[in-house]
Amino acid sequence: MFDCIVSCVYDERREVCGVAAVLHDVTREKEISQIKSDFVSHVSHELKTPLASITAYAEMLADGEAGDEKTRQQFYSVIQNQANRLNRLIEDILNISRIESGLIRVEKQPISMTILIEEQLRMIKSYAADKSIEVITQKPIVYDQVYADKDMISQVIVNLLSNAVKYTPSGGAIKIETAVDEIAGIARVSITDTGVGIPPGELEHVFDKFYRVDANKKQAKGTGLGLNLVKQIVERVHDGRVFVTSEPGVGSTFGFELPLATTTTVEAA
């Protein structure tokens, strides 16, 4: 796609002696503009959805439409939950935007993946126990230090673990594995669940912004941003790689690889 500016060329007698045309390739600009416009439209829809519940329930309370105390408490609870959902959405959007614009403050340090996983597992274990989901971990690996931002990688692990619990039916299991490939210089974390799984055609989109697997929406609530945040943190901030495999009805494995901390990377800091 081109923008075209056409002008007449005059000679010394101020008579038209030719025409000059300047073509400016604006294909990329138009594409970026479309992407921005789609994003804004999508974000506004996602923000308006919880907002719609908040305003509707608040109006119902103000109009005295909640007949008894129990109903009133239900309405308050919906408002509170939807406000929390709105807050999570805004936080996720801001974090993704900060990463994409390079404005986020990254504080990398050598950290052990095993220790980090253990810390996050403590937070998720009661949630898993509520659903009678068994959490299987392996023996610690001796050296699995990566050079990474602790808070950000903690967020990655929490997002993957909580997704695994969310989409695994009661009585299922989640297995967390860490592996080190010293030749390739990477640490790999895999989280395998016995959950509902993802249809093959949708697998390539699960890390996209706002993408939610249609068949699994009933299973759990989500912003559709958690996995995109995982991808941004792992790939954009840490030069790592995310991966996913899945079989519907059997389960999914989500994971990521990060470069191992080497003496050089640590000294360079």
């Binding site: 439209s41 829809h45 959805t49 719609a52 519940s53 439409e65 109903t71 919906v78």
Partner: protein
């Protein structure tokens, strides 16, 4: 308009609940569906007097649902109100083509929705009396 049957369609269960409570409190019978395919089936079986549907739903959008309803003899004239979180998502021409009776932007007021339903059903009753 007491006793009229309203089909409420939204994949957000909280929205279905709040609309259902508002309408029931005001004498309406409410049935619900959480996606377009289910809504079409319910509409054919239950023959509602009016349908309130979300615009953006998985698998089948509200607009696709209306198009399908218009092709079916039983539901071709059933009035539909669209709830949409995307402003200008449905053009005037599209609304006319699919005979969409009303469009409300989310966040919406249940009070305003009730007013719209009452207005549409009243106008419909008057027009049927005059025929």
């Amino acid at each position: 308009m007491t006793g009229k049957k309203v089909l409420v369609v939204d994949d957000e269960i909280h929205i279905v609940h709040v609309v259902a409570i508002k309408l029931r409190n005001n004498g309406y019978e409410v049935i619900s569906a959480e996606n377009g395919a289910e809504a079409f089936q319910v509409a054919c079986e239950e023959n509602p007097d009016i349908i309130v549907t979300d615009f953006q739903m998985p698998a089948m959008t509200g607009l696709e649902l209306v198009a399908k309803l218009r092709e079916c003899e039983q539901t071709k004239d059933t009035p539909v109100i669209l709830l949409t979180a995307r402003n200008f998502a449905v053009s005037q021409a599209e609304q006319q083509r699919l005979q969409i009776a009303g469009c409300l932007s989310k966040p919406f007021s249940p009070r305003e929705l009730l007013g719209n339903i009452e207005d549409i059903l009243y106008r419909r009753a008057v027009s049927q009396e005059n025929q």
